[in-house]
């Protein structure tokens, strides 16, 4: 069903957790559809210095969150915003068709967190 990369990220997810004094927090999804992703950001000089996630969802939601955090960590805000769900799917080496929405959630989650960061910085 899932490839090894997906299973590896599901079994050993990277960057799990919360950041107490996060610069940005994004939460997407809903319990109805069975997936909630919450992202915590630490940003310095426009660069994502630290990122953590918590995800309620299936293996591909967890793996998508995990690999996404790896992909954006150390990148600029603009680079992170350029990340698409396709990038996530590709990095995972593919997802079953029924599970592609999980990668969309990962894309939406990082965007939500950056929006929150910008909103907070704005004020």
């Amino acid at each position: 069903m899932y490839n090894e990369t997906v299973m590896e990220h599901f079994t050993n997810p990277r960057n799990v957790g919360e950041i107490e004094d996060a610069d940005g927090v994004g939460e997407v999804g809903s319990p109805q559809c069975g997936d909630i992703m919450k992202i915590f950001l630490k940003v310095e000089d426009n660069i994502i210095k630290d990122i953590k996630f918590k995800t309620f969802g299936c293996a591909s939601a967890i793996a998508s969150s995990s690999i996404m955090t790896e992909m954006v960590k150390g990148r600029t805000i603009e680079e992170a915003l350029a990340l698409t769900n396709k990038d996530v799917v590709d990095a995972l080496g593919g997802l079953p068709p029924a599970k592609v929405h999980c990668s969309v959630l990962a894309e939406q989650a990082i965007r939500a967190a950056i929006e929150d960061y910008r909103a907070k910085r704005g004020k």
């Binding site: 899932y2 079994t11 997810p13 069975g34 995800t55 309620f56 969802g57 299936c58 967890i62």
Partner: protein, 396 residues
């Protein structure tokens, strides 16, 4: 250490019982005749079919000429509902069923709605029980069929079929029950139950896959579902799957013979598993009825975790179970059964079914109880819905 494999998904399917396979083997090898042929090979196959039909009839308290073999439990369900609906549409177009039926019934009913039939989907209570009064109240003068499952495949709740049977009889409405999960776990006698149609499936009772049977009470008006070469006394066409029919016959025989012993064994394993989980894991909810439930059914919701993740984690420990999570099926809505008993979406998503079988042992239960708490804990730690308080106490 050798990897353990513990199969607790017996409501999804069961292994074939060795005695069943043994009786099937000749019909997969040298006794390959078509039962419709009049020569030696055909007669040999016909004889085997007759014997199997007798066994099934005996197991259900029915007459042999009331038993029809089908290609699956699903086909038996489709046939019962569509067959009665189309054959009786001059009399009426109203069908009564429940919200927690298997999709073989529900999707058939939805299809019939498109064909102009009216379907009432009855609610169930928090334990998954149908109220016989609701059935009676739903009957109107256009009602032609009541279809209520005997035991639910997800939460194991056993319905008061006998009571509903009395109502159906009193009101002269045909009554079908899907006994696919009940068979082998509950005593079944079609006359005592007062059913006119009853579906069973081979692979749920240690028989082969791809075989089911429909009991049709003599005199029931029912159209054919599959037309063709006049097999099954012109009621269900297609060259008979002799080996599977033989297997089904043996499986029913064994299921009925071993019923008491099986129920005793399953109940003891089930209760050990239920109690163990309640003891070891906080924030759980047992789904289904506490006592009117299948002896082999365990269904829990684990708050804050999602079912597929749970299943895959269990699978990595060699434990094969199933879940009511939508993720398993690729749709977004979780199990209609869990929603029907009032679970929130997120709780329904976090459900786990472990269905026991003859192959399971007390060691299996202990192994599961050893592995499951840590898995749930790990997934909860990942979950944004769950927060650990300072004092180590769990709260939401």
């Amino acid at each position: 250490m050798e990897k353990r494999r513990i199969y607790v998904d017996n409501s999804a399917t069961t292994p074939i019982h060795p005695q069943v396979l043994e009786e099937m083997m000749p019909y997969l090898t040298e006794s390959y005749g078509n039962p419709s042929s009049i020569h030696f090979f055909g007669r040999e196959a016909r004889k085997a079919m007759d014997k199997a039909r007798e066994r099934v009839a005996l197991g259900l308290g029915a007459k042999t000429e009331e038993i029809y073999f089908t290609g699956s439990g699903t086909e038996a369900d489709n046939w019962a509902v569509k067959g009665v609906a189309f054959a009786n549409k001059k009399k009426g177009n109203h069908i009564i069923t429940t919200k927690i039926e298997h999709h073989a019934i529900l999707h058939t009913c939805e299809y019939l709605e498109k064909q102009g039939f009216d379907v009432t989907y009855l609610d169930v209570d928090e334990y998954g029980l149908v109220n016989p009064d609701d059935v009676e109240n739903a009957i109107n003068d256009r009602t032609i069929l009541i279809s209520v499952m005997f035991a639910n495949n997800e939460i194991g709740t056993i319905q008061p079929i006998e009571e509903i049977g009395k109502i159906a009889k009193k009101r002269a409405v045909y009554f079908h029950t899907d006994a696919v999960q009940a068979m082998g776990n509950v005593d079944i006698n079609v006359d005592k139950l007062g059913v006119d149609l009853l579906s069973i499936s081979g692979h749920k009772i240690m028989g082969p896959k791809g075989i089911g049977a429909l009991y049709v009470r003599k005199g029931t008006r029912i159209d054919n579902l599959i037309h063709g070469g006049a097999q099954e006394r012109k009621r269900r066409s297609g060259t008979e799957n002799v080996a599977a029919v033989v297997g089904m016959g043996k499986a029913v025989q064994l299921a009925v013979e071993n019923l008491d012993q099986h129920v005793r064994k399953m109940t003891s394993l089930r209760d050990a598993l239920i109690d163990g989980i309640k003891e070891r894991i906080p924030h759980v909810r047992l789904n289904g009825h506490p006592s009117q439930r299948l002896a082999n059914n365990v269904n829990f919701s684990f708050e804050f975790v999602e079912g597929e993740a749970l299943l895959l984690s269990l699978d990595m420990e060699g434990i094969a179970a199933s879940s009511g999570s939508a993720c398993t099926s690729g749709s977004l809505d979780p199990s209609h059964v869990l929603l029907a008993i009032g679970l929130s979406h997120e709780t329904a998503h976090g459900s786990l079914r472990m269905s026991l079988g003859e192959i399971n042992t007390r060691e299996d239960i202990d192994y599961i109880l050893d592995k499951l708490p840590a898995i749930v804990e790990k997934l909860r730690a990942l979950s944004p819905l769950f927060k650990q308080c300072e004092g180590g106490k769990v709260s939401v």
